[in-house]
Each structure stands twice: as C-alpha cells, then as structure tokens.
C-alpha cells in the first residue's frame, strides 16, 4: 500500500514538473501553424511549442475567459482584439524585448484596433469568400448568393463556417447594408435571408481544407488560404470566389495572455515570427499573406501569382476590413447568430 502511494505521488509530481521546462502553449486557429516553423524555433531556442486549436473567435474568447485555460499565446482576429484588451485578458507587450518589432509592414503598424501595435503582432491576414468545386457548379462564384440563395446543384452540399462576424457581415452586405450595421430593418433582412438559406446547407462545421479536398463538401464559405490548399489538392477543381456584394478582410494577430506562465518563452516566439523568413514560412504553410516587411523575398512562387492571395483588380473594391462591432450593431449580430446556430 505504501509503495503504491509513493509511486502515485512520484508520477503526479513528474507530470506537473514536466510542464515547466522550455515550454510554450500556443492557442491558434486550426491548420494555421507551420510545423516547420515550430521545429525551427525549437532548434534555435530549445523551447517546445504545443499548439491547441480553435476554429472560431468566440470559442477562443469563451475558453480563455472561463479561466485556467493554461495558454500563453492566442491569435484572434482584428475585430476581436479590442475586446480581449478591454477585458484585461491580454498583456501589453514590452517592446524592448521585441527587437524585430520594426519589421512590421508600415500599413499594418498603426491599425485602428491596436495603434502602435502595443498588444498584438501580425500573424497572417486574408479574406473570406466562397470556395466552390467547379466540377459540381459551373456558375458565377463571385457572389454571396452561392450560400444565401443556393443554386440547385449545391443544395445540400455547401457548408458554412461557423464564424459569426464573417457570416453575418457577408449576409448584411448582401442585403445592401454595411458590416456591423445597427439599422434594424437591414439586420432583419440579413437574418431572414440567413435563416431561409440554412436548410440548404449541409453543415456548419470546420475542416474545409480537408473536406473540400476529399469531396465531403462541394462548396463552402471559406478563407482564402484554406481554399488555395484545397485547389492545390484537387488539381484546380476547387476555386475561390470573391463575393461582389462585399467580402470581409481579416487579420489575425498574436497576443500574450494576462495569466501566461511561460512569458519569456512567449517573447522569444513573438520576436521569432517577425523575422521575414520565418513569417514567410508561416505563410507558405497555410497560404495566407503576412504583415512583415521583407518577407516577400522568401515567399513560395505559387503564392506570388495565386488568385487567392493576390486579389485580382476587379475584386479589390468589394473587400471590407471588418471593424469591431459595438453597441446595437453587436447585439443584432449576436442575436442573429444565436438564432442561426440552433
């Protein structure tokens, strides 16, 4: 009996100890972190990074807010950054520990949602559009009608990612409003069009990169980088459409959590990803652009000409950088989303 207790105690102790040495807990979007990057980081610093993934901003926020999540770094979208800051969930960055901070591209440095980049550091940015397997549907894919007024070929075959801001914004712009609108008439129309379309969707789930590639879905509202990977996996069958009624542009940034335990390791990582070739490595994996100046030289060739990454001229005007919704606009958006989720 005594031996058993001793053994158990040792096992427990070693389990908790093992958590301490050279470790970093990164909470990031799924399929968004390059394994090569982590391997390179571990080789250079000896710090092992463990990635836990989430697939929506709301989930990330909810999990961390619940307390005791154990994560050190999180990578939310721009429109959520002010929420994280306001709730005191993240720390202000000590810029003296980040010599590579100057590498941030000028257009991404002084952003409305984090002036001077005191809390967040760019990870990747992209757009939300429609990914369609053109073998199943050959019509116009550059419109939100593909998922809001589903064409017969795609009924029961199109997925919609459960990311609130993207979907509700797309619907709002489709009915003629602006994202985060607080006009009840406009929002009501957006809600109605979403609820009417929902029965025609196959699911509201994640994993588009794989499911578009293996045929489980014929189409999906999806992010550009993930679609590019699906296009490459299906030899061009899957194409990316830019909704002409308006499509969201997002940027995801890395932030340091208030109750992070591996703070020094976190700073090393944040600094590491602002080195141009490392930023390019991140982009090369998930196929999104990054916000670090000088990384272009290291980007893979196919990304320099890919229609998902380099926005074609005719679609540029419809891109809208999503603002942070507040007040009535946010209430409407949340109410619509809750109803849609059921």
């Amino acid at each position: 009996m005594r031996h058993l207790l001793a053994a158990t105690a040792m096992v427990l102790a070693s389990a908790t100890l093992a958590a301490a040495e050279g470790q970093l807990q990164l909470y990031n979007w799924g399929n968004y972190t390059s394994p090569e990057l982590l391997a390179k980081f571990e080789k250079e610093t000896g710090i092992k990074v463990t990635v836990t993934d989430y697939d929506s901003n709301d989930v990330a926020l909810a999990k961390v807010e619940a307390g005791g999540s154990g994560f050190d770094l999180v990578v939310p979208s721009a429109s959520y950054v002010p929420i994280w800051v306001e709730k005191g969930l993240v720390q202000e960055l000590d810029l003296t520990k980040l010599p590579n901070h100057k590498n941030i591209a000028p257009e991404w440095l002084d952003v409305a949602w984090d002036p001077g980049r005191k809390y967040s550091v760019p990870w990747q940015w992209g757009s939300t559009g429609i990914a369609v397997n053109t073998k199943v549907y050959g019509g116009d894919i550059n419109t939100s009608a593909v998922f809001l007024d589903v064409p017969p070929e795609l009924v029961g075959k199109i997925n919609v990612v459960p990311e609130m801001i993207d979907i509700v914004s797309l619907a709002t712009m489709y009915v003629g409003g602006t994202a985060c609108s607080d006009d009840p008439e406009v929002m009501k129309k957006a809600r109605d069009v979403l609820l009417a379309a929902k029965p025609n969707w196959i699911s509201m789930d994640y994993g588009a990169t794989e499911r578009l590639s293996n045929g489980d879905w014929a189409a999906s509202v999806n992010w550009n980088g993930s679609t590019m990977r699906a296009r490459m996996a299906t030899n061009g069958d899957v194409q990316y459409g830019y909704p002409k009624e308006g499509y969201p542009i997002f940027m995801d940034s890395v932030m340091l959590l208030q109750d992070a335990t591996n703070v020094e390791e976190a700073y090393k990582f944040i600094d590491f990803i602002m080195v141009p070739e490392n930023a390019a490595m991140i982009s090369a994996f998930a196929r999104y652009a990054n916000g670090i100046a000088g990384s272009d030289a290291f980007m893979p060739e196919d990304m320099k000409t890919a229609p998902e990454v380099v926005v074609p001229e005719e679609h540029k005007a419809a891109g809208v950088f999503l603002p942070t919704c507040t007040g009535k606009g946010l209430e409407y958006m949340t109410a619509i989303w809750t109803e849609l989720q059921k």
Binding site: T8, Q25, G30, T50, G67, G68, G70, E210
Partner: protein, 267 residues
C-alpha cells in the same frame, strides 16, 4: 407432444438477425483496422499493405505526449479509484444493513446515472473556479475527475467478489487468534485479489476511453489520446487516426481478455 425436429427454443429469423448483428458490429471496426494498413490516403482505394501510418503516428510528438498523459491519468485513476472502492466495498458488505447505506450506494453509483455532459459541465465550472483561485493548472484535476467516475466501475466487481467469498476462512483465522488486521492482510486481501485486479483493470479501461469529461476539464496542452483524436476527427480524416485507434483497440482487447479470465467462475 411436439413434432420431432421441432426445436423448442428456435424463433424464426432470429439466428439470421443475431448473426447479422455480430457481423454489423464488427464490420466497421474491422474496416478501421484494415484501413490502418492502407498504403494510400482514402478509403476508396487500396494502396497496398503498409505500416506507414503507424510510423507516422509513432513519430508524431503530439500523439506520444497524449498517450503518455492518458497512461499517467489512467494508472493514477485506476490505483486511486480501486483503493477507494475496495475500502467502500468492505464498508458496505457483509454487515448488517445500517442507516444511510442506500445513500452510500447512490453516491457511489451516481456517476453511472448522470449523463457525462452534465458532469463535464459541472466540473468545467467548478475546476475553472479552482484553477483561477489557486493558480494550479496541472493534471491533478483530470486525475481527480477520472478517479471519481472510475469508482463505481471498480466497486462493482470487488463487491461481487466480496459477497461471494466464503466467510468460514476468515472465521477460522479468527479462531486461530489472528488479529483483525492480520486476518485482513493474510486471508481477506489475497482472496479478494482477483476482484481488485478486475476492478483496477476496468477502471483503467474506462479512464483510457473517456472523452467528454476530459474534453471539458483539460487545460491547454493537456490532450489525452481520445481528445487528441476528437480534435483530429473534426478536420483531417487521415488513416493516422485509424492506426492510433487500432493500437488503442489492441490494448483494450488485451485488458478485457485478462478481465474475463480473472472473473470467470471456476467450475
């Protein structure tokens, strides 16, 4: 009299359905195992026999870490829950029924009756508060949660064994001037051993298999093998998951066979 050749206990079609049921039960699992050896990526095409996915699984650092964690939690939970269950079994059997005994039964069997999602939610809230209040975020919470729901599983076989034990041996020991503690250590415990082993193994398997409660209680970077697989199943369907599943299956079958052998009634 019944007609000759008329089998009394045969009901038409039942054997067919029964055998069909066995086939249908094992077919998906067999498919899973077979395709873990598939050289190619998809289920539709067979790319030749290959251990490629097993190599990938073994080389995957996340899988290794998750497996380690599952083992640590499983062993700890099995040891702790079996100890607690043994004590409880000793306390609730072979004595005159006392007031409140029903309450003890209910408490011990309660994890079997409450839906896992409800317990998971309860622990999410409770442990969340503790995590913030104490700053401790280690595996202790998972071990505690697993121990708790393993207790009824360990308790049942031990109690069954205890109730079928022959009291006369212990009475004989007492007659020979053995103290209660000596009787316990030298007579009761060895006789009880198969029941305890069975209980421990059952508890280990149950802990190893848990998905829901672990998913809600875990903190960052604390994936067990099942929660790791759940994460993978939400996106990638590579045969790597098949390989991991087959290995987990193998472990379960081995343990179950041992359990059955241990609890087989000696004729």
């Amino acid at each position: 009299m019944a007609k000759p050749g008329f089998e009394i206990n045969r009901l038409p079609g039942f054997a067919t359905i029964a055998l069909g049921a066995f086939v249908l039960l094992y077919l998906p699992i067999a498919t899973l195992v077979v395709y873990s050896f598939n050289g190619s990526n998809s289920v539709a095409t067979w790319g030749g026999f290959s251990l490629h996915w097993y190599d990938k699984a073994w080389a995957n650092a996340d899988v290794k870490a998750a497996t380690m964690r599952s083992l640590i939690i499983g062993v700890s939970a099995a040891v702790l829950s079996t100890t607690l269950a043994t004590l409880a079994a000793l306390g609730t059997t072979r004595r005159r029924a006392f007031k409140g005994q029903t309450f003890i039964y209910v408490m011990i069997n309660q994890p079997l009756m409450v839906p896992e999602i409800v317990t998971a939610v309860a622990l999410l809230i409770f442990f969340g508060i503790l995590k913030v209040a104490t700053g401790y975020q280690g595996l202790g919470y998972l071990i505690a949660a697993h121990t708790a729901f393993c207790i009824p599983f360990a308790y049942l076989p031990i109690r069954a064994r205890l109730e079928s034990m022959d009291l006369s041996l212990e009475t004989a020991a007492a007659d020979l001037y053995a103290s209660p503690w000596q009787t316990f250590r030298r007579v009761t415990l060895p006789l009880l051993a198969p029941g305890i082993m069975a209980g421990a193994m059952l508890a280990f398997v149950i802990s190893l298999d848990d998905v829901v409660i672990t998913e809600f209680v875990k903190s960052g970077g604390q994936d067990t093998l099942p929660t790791y697989m759940l994460g993978q199943l939400r996106r990638a369907f590579t045969p790597e998951v098949n390989a991991i599943s087959t290995m987990l299956l193998g472990v379960t079958v081995v343990l179950l066979t041992a359990f059955f052998l241990l609890t087989r009634k000696k004729d």
